[in-house]
């Protein structure tokens, strides 16, 4: 019987989609062996209201930790609290998101517990006493099968790999206190600046419209913003050249040293397809490329390519997408 712990990430009191992905992944593993799923959610008072949602996606129990000192990410208090809960829970696996928060939290917890951690996991299976995970290495050019033998095994799941599926369970709420005093943490998040709430995150957007050197300047990203708005569910990405030039913020960079994304649709505009960029987006489901150079490497991996002047093509595409959506 494999009991599984799932860390349900929140921000600003809101449950993030990756939190439901963690519970979905946990439910699938637990069901193979008749185990149970404990979801863990922490934040400012009121965050426990999401317990119902976590139950709907498969949590047998929801551990709720509410404290004013957990309103913003509090790495030290959260790591201590999560480690304590996992230590007391006899779990085979503890699942974290491979997000900005999860990538910071999971290694702390692993070190406290003295157990193995593999992040950016794309698949999980049990094999006797071992946990077998798939983890891309060498910027996604090689897939590693990794065997984990610690009890529990800690894994960070890659966003968008475990589509949330409703699978209702009781979701009995168990309230717990933080371990230690959250206000005594040495590392303190003083301020969080978020873009407009309408802006989708690159890791979660179903569609990404991405621009490269071919855009020629920051002002021309308006073309991509219009195309993204036509899709309605799109985020804007960029290549390293674009962010190094300061045309877009570094947080928009997709690639080996930026974000790794796997949207349903990736539209590469004025992007030649350098290896560094392909590393961040090659697992996208459908790739569209628009580039004036028909020899550009991006066309080798694009499902659909159009050769030509992006300044002519993109506005026509924007209009066509708008029309298709209005008929849709």
């Amino acid at each position: 019987m494999a009991n599984v712990f799932a860390f349900a990430e929140t921000r600003n009191g809101e449950l993030r989609k990756i939190g439901l992905e963690a519970v979905t992944a946990a439910r699938k593993i637990a069901d193979e062996t008749g185990g149970k799923v404990d979801a863990f959610i922490a934040g400012a008072p009121g965050v426990g209201a999401h317990a119902e949602q976590l139950a709907k996606y498969g949590a047998d129990t929801v551990i709720v930790v509410e404290h004013a000192g957990l309103e913003k990410y509090n790495p030290e208090a959260l790591a201590a609290t999560v480690a304590e809960r996992i230590r007391g829970g006899a779990y085979r696996i503890a699942i974290f998101p491979t997000s900005a928060l999860g990538s910071d939290l999971a290694p702390r917890v692993a070190a406290k517990l003295g157990v193995g951690l593999v992040t950016d996991v794309t698949a999980v299976n049990l094999d006797g006493d071992a946990v077998i995970v798939q983890h891309p290495v060498n910027i996604g050019k090689v897939m590693a099968t990794v065997k984990m033998t610690s009890q529990p095994a800690l894994i960070g799941i890659r966003p968008n790999m475990f589509t949330p599926v409703e699978n209702p369970r009781a979701g009995a709420v168990e309230r717990a206190e933080p371990v230690g005093d959250p206000s005594a943490s040495r590392v303190v998040v003083k301020e969080v600046k978020l873009g407009s709430s309408a802006k989708l995150d690159l890791g979660e957007a179903p569609v990404i419209v991405s621009g490269g050197r071919g855009l020629k300047g920051p002002e021309n990203f308006k073309l991509l913003e219009d195309l993204a708005a036509a899709f309605g569910n799109a985020a804007i990405g960029a290549t390293r050249v674009v962010t190094d030039e300061g045309w877009r913020p570094h947080s928009d960079q997709i690639g080996q040293t930026g974000r790794l994304v796997s949207p349903q649709l990736y539209v590469a505009v004025g992007i030649s397809g350098a290896i560094q960029h392909l590393a961040g987006m090659r697992t996208s489901r459908t790739i569209v490329a628009i580039n004036k150079d028909k020899e550009a490497p991006i066309f080798k991996i694009a499902d659909y390519g159009i050769v030509g002047d992006l300044f002519e093509i993109v506005p026509v595409l924007t209009a066509a997408v708008k029309e298709a959506k209005s008929r849709g």
């Binding site: 060498n138 910027i139 065997k147 030509g308």
Partner: protein, 250 residues
């Protein structure tokens, strides 16, 4: 100020990898190796502190086989003061085992800052820096793209999904470096000459117990060959049609 920078030697990624006959590693024949990108920015961050305060000592630590000496020498050529090789026959995949070896070396070293790159390009687990901080009981801030120090306090910026976090922490601390903090300098000829004479100690790595191992590596299935559907704006209607009927994403 005393700063340790932990770096990793990784293969150049701009190649078509082959799987070694052993089946759980890539074939290293013909690969070029260099300092991991994120780690080069960690070295640069330390050197920029040294540029402002020449009393700063920058120590490079790298776990690996003797081949890492070349990579350590590069960081010394950039301007670091001395290096330590934590010798292993082969770098294990288990981040916690590595973190134990690094923590054993760094413990009691009197470092004000211990810097890492955010993650390595090869094993891409992004865990060792924070694990070392935790094992040493030090404050940890990961994936920073801006850093300011004022006496015994630091402030840093972290990129998060759709925004930024501004974090304060006391020194000594462990930091992991993201893109955007700086651009790494190239070693000058004078630096390359000087690096040859800088101390580089070799010690056996005291790896922790390993519970994570790679059993198989394989090349992911290739994407089907790309298809150019046309030229110019006249190809747009066909594209939109394919997105609707074939790809079903519109």
């Amino acid at each position: 100020m005393k700063i340790a920078v932990c770096i990793k030697r990784v293969p150049d990624m701009d190649v078509r990898f082959k799987i070694a006959p052993i089946g759980n590693a890539v074939d290293e024949a013909g690969l070029k190796f260099d300092i991991n990108d994120f780690d080069s920015w960690a070295v640069e961050a330390a050197l920029q502190i040294k540029d402002k305060d020449s009393a700063t000592e920058v120590v490079i630590v790298s776990l690996g086989s003797d081949s890492v000496q070349e990579t350590i020498r590069k960081a010394l050529a950039m301007g670091a003061d001395r290096g330590v090789e934590l010798k292993v026959a082969r770098i294990p995949f288990d981040g916690l085992a590595i973190a134990h070896a690094l923590a054993a070396e760094l413990k009691g070293g009197g470092f004000d800052l211990i810097l890492f790159g955010k993650q390595s390009a090869d094993s891409s687990n992004g865990a060792v820096g924070a694990m070392v901080g935790e094992l040493l009981g030090l404050p940890v801030v990961t994936a920073i793209s801006k850093l300011e120090l004022a006496g015994a306090t630091g402030s840093a910026k972290r990129e998060i999904e759709g925004g930024q976090e501004f974090v304060e922490f006391p020194l000594p601390a462990v930091l992991t470096i993201d893109q955007g903090l700086n651009t790494a300098r190239y070693p000058a000829l004078k630096g390359i000459m000087a690096a040859k004479k800088k101390p580089l100690d070799v010690r056996p790595a005291q790896l922790g117990e390993q519970s994570v191992s790679v059993t198989k590596m394989e090349l992911p299935p290739e994407r089907p060959a790309g298809r150019i559907i046309g030229e110019g704006a006249s190809a747009v209607p066909e594209l939109v049609g394919l997105l609707q009927t074939e790809a079903k994403v519109l």
